[in-house]
């Protein structure tokens, strides 16, 4: 292990060992209270009855366990529909982003058409804008898309297509493709592979790590997003979980609402537990070494 601020020798002294365990225990307790207790409190709260939740001071464990609240919440808020919507929106946003951004990054990296660098620069320039500065004009564009003059409000495309205009995805992918040796592509070409075959059969299999990172972050971002779906999906039947939960919150009994919050969090927590490594890699993706 890499040597850190304190050396193992220092920690081995009586003084060091005592200090270490005091700090460690304090940190452990602080983390348990700050980051584990809220989740446990939410899980337990959902299984208390509504009158019990109004008690001051609150009970710690439910007096009577109501695990059926979860299924009640599922039907009361029609969560099946909103889960379906959210899966469709997040899944679609993922597929559209891959379908649009992967070939674009590949072209900018390997095919290098004229003005390619200009195009890349114009794409990266959009990263300078705070996302919220474009909220109004993009919303108005969605209500009346230029050239085709359609109104995309309440359609999943209203989320998918703007999500695909993601300069950061293109940048990350292009940087990865740049490292794929040109000889591989030449070899494939000599063997008679076309441009598309070369990309799909030669370059993409090598790019699995970066495709995983881009995919996970695309899905997580779409699942978590609130303000944009709130604007472009006013029809209650088309809304995502986040937007629907916020709409239900004022007139839903608190125990049902809590159960709904738990259910809405499960998929993302599961994604995190399964893909921890990729998420960590994505967070620090080349972020530290210039």
């Amino acid at each position: 292990m890499n040597r850190t601020l304190l050396s193992d020798n220092q920690l081995r002294t009586l003084h060091g060992r005592l200090g270490y365990w005091v700090v460690f225990s304090c940190a452990f307790i602080a983390f348990a209270v700050a980051f584990v207790l809220p989740f446990v409190w939410m899980l337990l709260g959902a299984m208390k009855s509504a009158p019990e939740l109004a008690h001051v001071p609150p009970t710690i464990l439910p007096e009577q366990w109501h695990p059926e609240t979860y299924s009640d919440a599922w039907s009361f808020m029609e969560l099946a529909k909103y889960f379906g919507n959210t899966v469709m929106i997040a899944g679609g946003a993922w597929l559209v982003q891959l379908a649009v951004d992967v070939p674009a990054a590949y072209a900018l990296s390997k095919l290098r058409p004229v003005l390619g660098n200009w195009i890349l620069g114009l794409m990266l320039a959009t990263l300078m804008l705070p996302a919220s500065a474009l909220l109004v004009p993009t919303y108005l564009t969605i209500t009346d898309v230029p050239v085709v003059h359609t109104n995309m409000i309440n359609q999943p495309g209203a989320i998918w297509l703007p999500a695909a205009a993601n300069a950061f995805n293109i940048y990350l992918l292009k940087r990865f493709f740049d490292q794929v040796p040109g000889e591989l592509i030449e070899a494939a070409t000599i063997d008679g592979a076309g441009r598309i075959t070369t990309m799909v059969r030669v370059v993409l299999p090598l790019s699995r790590p970066i495709l995983a990172v881009v995919s996970i972050f695309a899905i997580v971002a779409a699942w978590k997003d609130f303000i944009w779906p709130l604007l472009v999906l006013p029809d209650p039947g088309a809304q995502t979980l986040s937007v629907a939960l916020n709409r239900f919150a004022p007139d839903t009994p608190i125990n049902l609402l809590l159960a709904g919050l738990v259910l809405a969090s499960i998929p993302m927590v599961a994604v995190f537990l399964v893909f921890q490594r990729q998420i960590l890699a994505g967070l620090t993706a080349g972020s530290l070494k210039g």
Binding site: P57, M123, M128, P162, K224, A285
Partner: protein, 315 residues
């Protein structure tokens, strides 16, 4: 539209595009064919960027000087939208609140993750546990976090006052009082977002060569001297970049005030973005909302530009 985590955390500078073109394969379509396929691969992205990024940028600037609603055609009104904004007493309130939020978020959200990362980095046990739980809140949808914490903040049966009472402290009114409402929002937002900063700092700390610490120890440096002369200089760049990113992100705070307080009590949590939302989607005054977007962009542009400069020019 979404600022994903990964978007906000790349600190690596973009590479200079290579001047030299790769060797052309013979027997394939020539220069013209290459360009044709190249643009074929690019066209979907070009359409998406043109429609939903480049065009809205230009349109946003134009809208700022127009009167726009869904009924009448847009008309040019010059600076009237800006004058209307400056005449609105809430406009100044929104900026003051937003700056207050940003400042408080810096105090909590900037210092805490770094200290936490430094402490975790020294641990020889259960590092995985710390890394796991600090990042869990980041995965929750922000609406879930906001609704959950609204329940925690309930002055009666809420979790926080219960905890305060348990250690014999008086309870607070949290979101119900204009003096603590903003602080409450900062706490949620810090809890929800500090995981990513902590993990990035941990990675940065892990990259500091151990020999430096060893050498300084042999030279008799104390722990604080080691922090001051080794840890901080080696993480200064990451710290600076994360600070810029955090300022840009917190100036755009929306979900927490929208879901938890709706701007109240007494307008104490009306933020710039919340007011912008009201102008656009409650009053349908898209011109004034665009003028506000333009001002927000100008305020944040400096930070974004500095961020890009730093990440591009760092050798």
């Amino acid at each position: 539209m979404t600022a994903t985590l990964i978007e906000t955390t790349s600190l690596r500078r973009p590479e200079k595009p290579a001047r030299r073109r790769g060797p052309r394969s013979s027997g394939r379509p020539g220069r013209f064919g290459d360009n044709l396929t190249g643009y074929g691969f690019l066209c979907a992205a070009l359409i998406c960027f043109a429609l939903f990024s480049w065009y809205p940028i230009i349109r946003g600037v134009l809208l700022s000087f127009q009167q726009v609603d869904f009924v009448n055609p847009a008309t040019w009104v010059g600076w009237a939208n800006f004058q209307k904004l400056f005449a609105d007493p809430l406009f100044a309130v929104a900026w003051r609140n937003t700056l207050y939020f940003t400042l408080l978020a810096l105090v909590f959200g900037f210092a805490i993750p770094f200290v936490v990362a430094m402490v975790i980095n020294e641990f020889r046990h259960a590092k995985g546990f710390f890394r796991l739980v600090v990042y869990l809140p980041v995965m929750l949808p922000p609406v879930v976090t906001a609704l959950l914490w609204k329940w925690f903040y309930d002055p009666g049966p809420g979790l926080f006052n219960t905890l305060l009472h348990a250690v014999n402290l008086p309870g607070l009114s949290w979101l119900d009082s204009s003096s603590t409402s903003m602080l409450s929002l900062v706490l949620v937002s810090t809890w929800a977002n500090m995981g990513s900063a902590t993990l990035i700092y941990l990675a940065a700390l892990g990259g500091i060569p151990g020999e430096l610490y060893e050498a300084s120890e042999l030279d008799g440096a104390t722990i604080w001297q080691r922090v001051r002369y080794i840890t901080i200089p080696h993480t200064r760049f990451v710290l600076l970049v994360m600070m810029l990113l955090q300022i840009v992100a917190t100036m755009q705070v929306f979900t927490e005030p929208y879901v938890m307080t709706g701007g109240g009590p007494e307008d104490s949590t009306v933020t710039v973005l919340l007011l912008l939302y009201r102008y656009a989607f409650v009053y349908n005054d898209f011109g004034t909302a665009s003028a506000m977007s333009l001002l927000l962009f100008l305020a944040l542009g400096a930070f974004s530009a500095l961020y890009l400069r730093l990440t591009r020019t760092r050798g």
